[in-house]
Symmetry: D2
Subunit: 285 residues, 4 copies
Amino acid sequence: MVTPLTARDTLDVAGLERLVERLVTGGVSGIFVLGTTGEAPSLSHRLRREVVEHTCRFVSGRVPILVGITDTSIVESAQLAGAAADFGADAVVTSAPFYFPAGQPELREFIEELLPELPLPLMLYNMPSLTKTSFSREVVAWALGQEKIVGLKDSSGDLVYFRKMRYLAETARPDWSFLVGPEELLAETVLLGGHGGINGGANLHPTLYVELYQAAKAGDLSMTRALSEAIYQVGKHGSAIIKGLKCSLSILGICDDFMAAPFHRFHEAEREVIRGRLGELGIVE
Amino acid sequence: MVTPLTARDTLDVAGLERLVERLVTGGVSGIFVLGTTGEAPSLSHRLRREVVEHTCRFVSGRVPILVGITDTSIVESAQLAGAAADFGADAVVTSAPFYFPAGQPELREFIEELLPELPLPLMLYNMPSLTKTSFSREVVAWALGQEKIVGLKDSSGDLVYFRKMRYLAETARPDWSFLVGPEELLAETVLLGGHGGINGGANLHPTLYVELYQAAKAGDLSMTRALSEAIYQVGKHGSAIIKGLKCSLSILGICDDFMAAPFHRFHEAEREVIRGRLGELGIVE
Amino acid sequence: MVTPLTARDTLDVAGLERLVERLVTGGVSGIFVLGTTGEAPSLSHRLRREVVEHTCRFVSGRVPILVGITDTSIVESAQLAGAAADFGADAVVTSAPFYFPAGQPELREFIEELLPELPLPLMLYNMPSLTKTSFSREVVAWALGQEKIVGLKDSSGDLVYFRKMRYLAETARPDWSFLVGPEELLAETVLLGGHGGINGGANLHPTLYVELYQAAKAGDLSMTRALSEAIYQVGKHGSAIIKGLKCSLSILGICDDFMAAPFHRFHEAEREVIRGRLGELGIVE
Amino acid sequence: MVTPLTARDTLDVAGLERLVERLVTGGVSGIFVLGTTGEAPSLSHRLRREVVEHTCRFVSGRVPILVGITDTSIVESAQLAGAAADFGADAVVTSAPFYFPAGQPELREFIEELLPELPLPLMLYNMPSLTKTSFSREVVAWALGQEKIVGLKDSSGDLVYFRKMRYLAETARPDWSFLVGPEELLAETVLLGGHGGINGGANLHPTLYVELYQAAKAGDLSMTRALSEAIYQVGKHGSAIIKGLKCSLSILGICDDFMAAPFHRFHEAEREVIRGRLGELGIVE
């Protein structure tokens, strides 16, 4: 979920409520706040807690809520996890600490040190292009032995990695969830046994992603192909990246398109392009 | 296809013949020589021509032969393409020149300059991890307008890229072939409309790959899942990389496992491990 | 300056005092807290403020204090800068925000948005290996026009970049400071007109670095060569990286060697190796 | 030395003769052909031999000639080394094979396998930005024990690496030459004990580089600073990269500016810019 903002350190609370409604009524199986698409690392820690608080209030138990606690400081991660539990979230999600590149043993120790601090189940978040570190086969094998760890979200774009990790877990932890990041890979992933996606584009068009997931899960190949191609169409027009998502949501009247630094909202000309494409896609008239 | 060698500059001609037979009778749709798995850049230009000559002779028209002409020198690439035509090959394949990293305009100009020299159709070969350069959307769009270019082999491992390029070609050049490099992606690719794979592992176990291709093409999801998992099993044991392939083929009595510099064949201990695994996989007794 | 800790979120205040004394009496021209060597991104924001507060108190105006405010959130950076001014620091230092890789225009805008929030002069900190982004020639040229920006600390290890930036500033801003990160480059930098270094190794052996700086500034080539080689000797033994520095300082009785996650202090065996080398270097008996 | 060409596979023999004269009378200590600036990997093997043959003839023993034999095929490298000896060259130079990224043990074995084939002394050439592989400390330590290896040319731009390797050789092999690639680092290198540079810019302005070398060797800091700044001026105008060098040499009437694929000579507009700058630098009227 994107984080609707009206200013650098001000949440667009009304926009957040509309966005939550759009997602929940669009049929999503859960909501992930404070991920990459949520611009979490760019937000103050105070605002991050505010996002969790309001989201939990608006969702009100209708779907599970996952909270990103990725940070460079384990102390801040643990504090945010505590707040997430207090507000009623269902799980937390962390990638590798991302300033110092941790070696694999250090990455394992980092998770090991974090686990006892967490009042909620933990999902690992593999995001090497931004964190400079991937969870290795060895670390994932270790994580399979930790009851509190419940799954892996893989945004590496590397389907070979994704499926290797999934095969690794197959007998040891059939309860683990394997979710894929790049939305363009949702179809392939689910067709061959993955569990779903955490896909930024679903902010804009949740039903499309829900339908693709259902078609792939049912093994309906022709429907899967058609919907998958539709998702590439969304992506092609720059409306699936964070700026484009916020711009699109603003055009739809859902929420403000203010971006946290170092980014800025699209200018009017780019906004017109997005508006035109939303029209072509039938998302606005 | 791997390149069987008995010494640094000596082709294992008898081994090559056995390997060609294994592949053709295994049901492959074509043979690609002098690719990455063929260690082409590590071979002398004289030996590269010898590989083409003997392969053409052994295949004898039963399946099409594609010849890798990737080189840092356009003059050498053109000369090898000429030889390939003389020996009776069906197409040539080139990636980007890989010492100087070419910008995209330069990459396009490189292909443009090479085309008139080629007596055979050309397939592009995207291999950014080794060539430092990917064929951009713009270059592929240009290539779609060149009659002599007939397809793209993508070994990037990036399925999002692969499918973007495929969608790009869909109406402009329905005759293009889109083939995938990493064998672990063969299933996904074909399920969603790709045309096949050029997969090193097929040297070892051609029927497995042919069956997976056919299952995916027929939309048989449970068979696709089972065979795809089998391929991950092959890969897991290091037998799908070049050294492992040659070692396995040597254990099977197909050809020598001599590696071109800078690599060396597996030592006896590693060879024993591979032997054990081939047994587990049911490939040797 | 390293950040002495006794636990994950507990400052080693007495150790900090001893370290400050070592540096100030060792003749350094200034103290930089909360940089990379200070493990700043791994510390809670509360602890970061505590470091600044105590350092300012212990230094008590004897040398200028620079405070690292690098963060992924501009709001947190601005708040820390405010605290730094309140505690009496002299300048703040920021690198690029380091989760999302900012393009150069975005990097310029980020600094532009940050500047009015800063009650202190700003030094730029180029650290591309950890932030994924370098300050480009264009951004540095723009920064030369901002009165509040007073210099560049370059930890890229790329001396060609360093000198290009220095020549760029030569007439426009002769007041700028150009300081180099990797201590092994201190000699070269100062010999050819740079202003000094911010070098982790100075925690351990401040007088060595002060003497090298003075020799290079005086153009004493033979002394520069000898001292420069000595610094390579320090580095060779792993005592110049953060873990090694903290271990060495602990052996010397200066401060605790607790490391912030994801790192851990050296084990006893490694500690013995460091102890032996400090002996060889004449730093302990 | 750049490789003057009049067409894709045609040497500009008269231009080569003028260029050799310019360099030798400009006072260089030796000539390095078929390096990166010589576009060697882009040339046919036939043309590479022709370059060596004519250069040896034109130099006629006045300065030593080093020949780059870097290739992806050890067979081709060995054959070119043989030809170089036959034509009367003095040494050969090789970087790592650059298609397959060799691990360090494989890199050592590659050099070990190459050595007995070489009729001439060998200098190592560290060029990781193009070969993807750096010669590690361990490989250099091994090389110090090989009598036939006589030095290291380092084009990594990493002065810390350069000096670490130099200190490593100091007692073991005081006869080794340590030469630096990026010309902007020539001054620093020589001031602190390096032996010189192999610098593309010397094609254009050999005396400038010779004077800088002499000033740095003599420890004349103010002259070193002035000349070093002059070299940055040359580089700033794009005349120090291969295209710019060939364009400048063509303006000076030395040789043709034909570039081997995938590159092309500058267009007229860029050529005018270079002409203007050569005027400002006082190289043409």
